[in-house]
Subunit: 170 residues, 2 copies
């Protein structure tokens, strides 16, 4: 089986835009609430969970760290909903997504490193790898969908891909 | 004006149940996902934001710390929706809610201290104080409602209430 390698770049909203939202406050607009004691960074992700009588689920994922270099063998996508992850310990984690290829196949892969103060919200139907925590057991707040219908499709890659180098993140 | 004082107790799901959900993983059921690399603590809060064409908003609040003892002068409630807060730095914060009094007034107040690994989800129409961060500038992931209609009612207390002692939290 062929093996490819993939370069990791820092997570940045413009580069991630084809795949979903980067949930972060750096560089974002906000406004004062609560008698000027609090700034609200409003509506940072497009939560898309209402399809087919869906409702938002708020959950916590407790993820074991993955070894680096890390091998990507399969991806998943959610045809009915977005899925948002935010790290609860400020710890960097790896985000692997793919372009949509011809005839609905998995296209080119991209790997991003969250600073630990950034979450992601995968757009509906974005091919992505399951959660990849790094270094230590890590917790994430997750907003996705509950409701009827099959909302997870998993597919093996034709060639495994190694996540090797991480470009000087920040 | 009269002044009362209020005792703070550790946040605990049974005691908080009349006001909403405690969002936490301690003592909760979970199940394995992602090839046994991750535990999912599923559906920890009843997100209730669909009324009157509402949609879920995912936001970040950046809250300045409040001095202790802290004076409670007014509360607010959201007639169309729940509102969930989860701390992003693992730092304790104060949760002040009130029972619903006779003829829709503000009833008895209760104060709870989150461990920093617990969030809260105020049930629709629960009287609560605005976010009370403690010690340092603190960030919270917030899930509430966007959409038409007036969804915030604020009311002054008849007597200010001082949050004074914090019972040995844990």
């Amino acid at each position: 089986m062929a093996e490819l390698s993939l370069r990791v770049v820092p997570l940045e909203s413009m580069a991630f835009a084809p795949f979903g939202d980067v949930i972060e406050i750096a560089g974002r607009d906000s406004y004062w609430i609560n008698d000027h004691t609090c700034r609200r960074f409003n509506d940072l992700a497009r939560i898309d969970v209402a399809e087919n009588e869906g409702r938002p689920l708020l959950s916590v994922f407790e993820a074991s760290p993955r070894p680096l270099p890390f091998c990507i063998r399969s991806l998943e996508r959610h045809p009915l909903s977005s899925q948002a992850f935010f790290p609860l310990e400020g710890r960097p984690f790896l985000v692997v997504v793919a372009e949509r290829g011809a005839a609905d196949t998995i296209g080119a892969l991209h790997a991003f490193l969250s600073s630990g103060h950034q979450g992601v919200n995968y757009r509906r139907n974005t091919w992505h790898h399951a959660l990849i925590a790094i270094g230590e057991l890590s917790h994430f707040l997750v907003v996705d969908r509950g409701g009827p219908g099959e909302d997870c499709e998993e597919r093996a890659l034709e060639a495994v891909v190694w996540v090797t180098s991480i470009d000087s993140p920040r």
